[in-house]
């Protein structure tokens, strides 16, 4: 297939639209992202508050039944589906597909303004396991920023798609990993974290100068400080892991970025209960499976909380949501851990509460809501684990995001009910990338004890976890959730249906088939006074690849190399 490297014939309509809006359209900068404008979706999580919420209310509970497809866009070569979060600014929609294909489209018509397909190291990509999907871009200072599987971060001119700079940040040939997550733009810096959890390497997070593309700083999530180095016995930091493969957020008041980190390797340790001194990686393994606050200018660690010390279950903290709330004069940050436990922090990452979204969970008995301490943790010796481990390795929550609606005060979040049988293996340390992964066990997906696998959308108080309503799905939905000022909650599910629910009651008001499963983002924006809802459809990847053998049915024929951006508006 011939590649269209760059097409910048700006349609007249778009030019007119942009000219008309030029009076109020300013550059996308930190202040504008912080404010989270009405008509736009300027950063992965909507704004730095990470609400995944659109205040637009033209589409609402009264008229959502008239919602229909406005336009679609096919990015092509959607190997492992589409997993990205679209962005929208001043009437233009930006999004990425597999292989970091990047598009700027007229938000009203879908007409292509420009496209950019980076030339990747294809032989390297063929060797990678967690590849070639891309989870999104960032906007700021007139540029679109996108990471690649072969270790580059690229800054494109927002108007033309022209490459302004291209910086190689990691040696992907050596490490076999690269960037799949979206970058974060704030205060002149583009932040992006590498993949890492299953590979030897130290899981770097980078701060890059947005103007020049020059690296400003690098923070190592594996043994990145002297204190952390002491938490990896027997030099086990060499087996590595960590990384921060989803974008976190920016806290302007503290001049920090908040980021979640991935698990240590091997995923499953044979240490048994004496994990502080025995096994593959004796100690707590800082700063893996942690939330960290880094100074945005220097990358220096300011505070952290390790959600699961010595994570022995691959329930990492890489989920990028940091929901910034204020209640009764207190400021909070809500961060979901992959295990299904939701951590509530103050702005310095001090634990304020911990609650759980899953029904089936037994890797610990509980987590102390006051201190965050794990109670009754299950650390396995080598051999067959008698009672299935819950949740499954795909997590109690997905890496995709939930949504907080400031009008209802509710947090809408998907939970996943599934478990796994497990036999932990004692393996020799993997300190150089050889055969890609470092799991440390044989395992198989299993239903929860006495029940079936399912997923659920919960409407909860984000701080106490008190549940207002729940909607169940026969298979766990893996996509992101969005709520709106129209009192709606949208859930793109795994079978390929987008659902709209009443945000107060959970009553289903509308649904529409997108033709294939969802496992990426959903946003809303407005162009010339008209509201649109954009969702990516396209299935395939580490969690969704289990669906055909586990559930059969529609998943048996569901493509894992296809996808589309589907955009809805009122008919």
């Amino acid at each position: 297939m011939r590649k269209q490297w760059l097409y910048s014939g700006l349609p007249v309509l778009v030019a007119a639209t942009l000219a008309a809006s030029a009076a109020w359209a300013q550059a996308v900068d930190t202040a504008r992202i912080e404010a989270g404008g009405q008509n736009d979706w300027l950063t992965y999580h909507g704004s730095y508050k990470s609400y995944h919420y659109s205040p637009l209310s033209q589409i609402n509970t009264g008229n959502v039944s008239n919602l229909g497809v406005a336009w679609i866009h096919i990015p092509g070569r959607s190997t492992r589906g589409l997993q990205s979060m679209p962005l929208a600014a001043d009437g233009v929609l930006y999004y990425t597909g597999s292989y970091s294909r990047t598009f700027a489209l007229n938000g009203a018509t879908g007409e292509v303004i420009w496209s950019y397909f980076p030339e990747l190291d294809e032989a390297l990509v063929a060797r990678q396991t967690h590849s070639p999907y891309n989870r999104g871009a960032a906007l700021g200072e007139g540029k679109v920023y996108v990471g690649t599987m072969d270790g580059h971060l690229i800054g494109l001119d927002m108007k033309t798609g022209k490459v302004m700079w291209d910086t190689k940040l990691i040696d992907s040939q050596k490490l076999t990993v690269g960037f799949t997550g979206a970058p974060l733009y704030a205060k002149g810096t583009v932040v992006i974290g590498a993949q890492g959890g299953e590979w030897p390497g130290r899981g770097p997070i980078f701060g890059v100068d947005a103007t020049t593309g020059k690296k400003k700083w690098e923070f190592l999530t594996v043994a990145g400080t002297d204190e952390a180095m002491k938490t990896w016995g027997n030099d086990s930091w060499r087996t590595g892991g960590g990384g921060g493969w989803m974008p976190g957020t920016y806290d302007a008041e503290n001049n920090t970025i908040l980021w979640g980190t991935a698990n240590p390797a091997p995923l499953y340790d044979w240490s048994g209960a004496d994990y502080k001194t025995q096994g593959a990686r004796p100690g707590d393994n800082l700063y893996t499976t942690s939330v960290i606050a880094l100074d945005i200018d220097t990358g220096k660690l300011k505070s952290y909380h390790q959600e699961l010390p010595h994570d022995a279950w691959d329930f990492d903290s890489a989920v990028g949501e940091f929901v910034m709330l204020e209640r009764d004069g207190q400021k909070y940050v809500v961060h979901p851990n992959k295990s299904g436990y939701i951590f509530v922090y103050d702005r310095n990452l001090g634990v304020k509460n911990v609650w759980r979204i899953t029904q089936n969970s037994n890797f610990v008995k509980d987590i102390d809501p006051k201190t965050g301490e794990l109670i009754g943790r299950r650390d396995f010796p080598a051999g067959k684990v008698s009672e299935p481990l819950c949740p499954h390795i795909s997590g109690g929550v997905s890496w995709n995001a939930g949504s907080y609606n400031p009008k209802t005060g509710l947090y809408y979040k998907l939970g996943q009910e599934w478990c796994m049988t497990l036999e932990v293996q004692k393996t020799t340390p993997i300190v150089a990338p050889q055969a890609q992964l470092n799991i440390g066990a044989d395992f198989k997906i299993a239903p929860p004890p006495g029940g079936e696998i399912y997923g659920h959308l919960d409407a909860r108080d984000p701080i106490t976890g008190a549940k207002k309503w729940e909607v169940r799905f026969p298979e766990p939905p893996l996509g992101s959730v969005m709520s709106t000022g129209g009192n709606l909650v949208f859930v793109p599910d795994s079978r390929g249906t987008v659902h709209a629910y009443d945000a107060d009651s959970g009553a289903e008001l509308w649904s529409h088939g997108d033709g294939t499963g969802h496992q990426g983002g959903i946003i809303s924006y407005a162009v010339n006074g008209k509201q649109y809802i954009a969702v990516v459809a396209g299935f395939g990847g580490m969690a969704s690849d289990d669906y055909a053998p586990t559930f059969g049915g529609v998943y048996k024929s569901m493509p894992r190399d296809d996808g589309a951006l589907v955009v809805y508006s009122l008919k």
Partner: protein, 144 residues
């Protein structure tokens, strides 16, 4: 008889036109540094850079003579998709009692399958791949 070539070679790659648009970034980065070279040399360099060439990169270290512990390999790598050490279907097919012949397995291990299985041709040599096939052929249901 081997029905498919034992591994993908550069000769199998479709010939690409020498066009900056297609060569893209990698080529352009290169081009910036070699503007003083003659046009034919430039053409050769750009052609090379446009090929997804394995030959450019030394394969990661895999000691040729080292015996591969395939059971461990499944516990570290293969088992994410080929569940229970290859005994059950997961993201990938069940390998125990597979009807596929040795050539098929060898080629699939080397080249992978786009979007489903990574290519391990740069990681394992032929003898090691034979060990993996031997392990697959010997798989029995686990006890208990």
């Amino acid at each position: 008889m081997t029905l498919l070539p034992p591994c993908r070679s550069e000769a199998d790659e479709p010939r690409r036109e020498l066009d900056f648009r297609q060569v893209g970034l990698a080529g352009m980065r290169l081009a910036r540094t070699i503007t003083t070279l003659s046009t034919p040399t430039l053409a050769v360099l750009l052609t090379i850079s446009a090929l997804p060439s394995r030959a450019q990169q030394p394969p990661p270290s895999a000691p040729d003579s080292e015996q591969l512990d395939v059971g461990q390999l499944f516990a570290t790598t293969c088992g994410w998709c080929h569940s229970a050490g290859g005994r059950a279907a997961g993201k990938g097919p069940q390998l125990m009692d597979t009807k596929r012949d040795d050539d098929f397995l060898r080629i699939r291990i080397k080249n992978g399958k786009e979007g489903a299985m990574p290519a391990f041709g740069a990681v394992f040599n032929d003898a090691q791949i034979d060990e993996i096939i031997k392990y697959i052929r010997a798989l029995k249901p686990s006890e208990g």
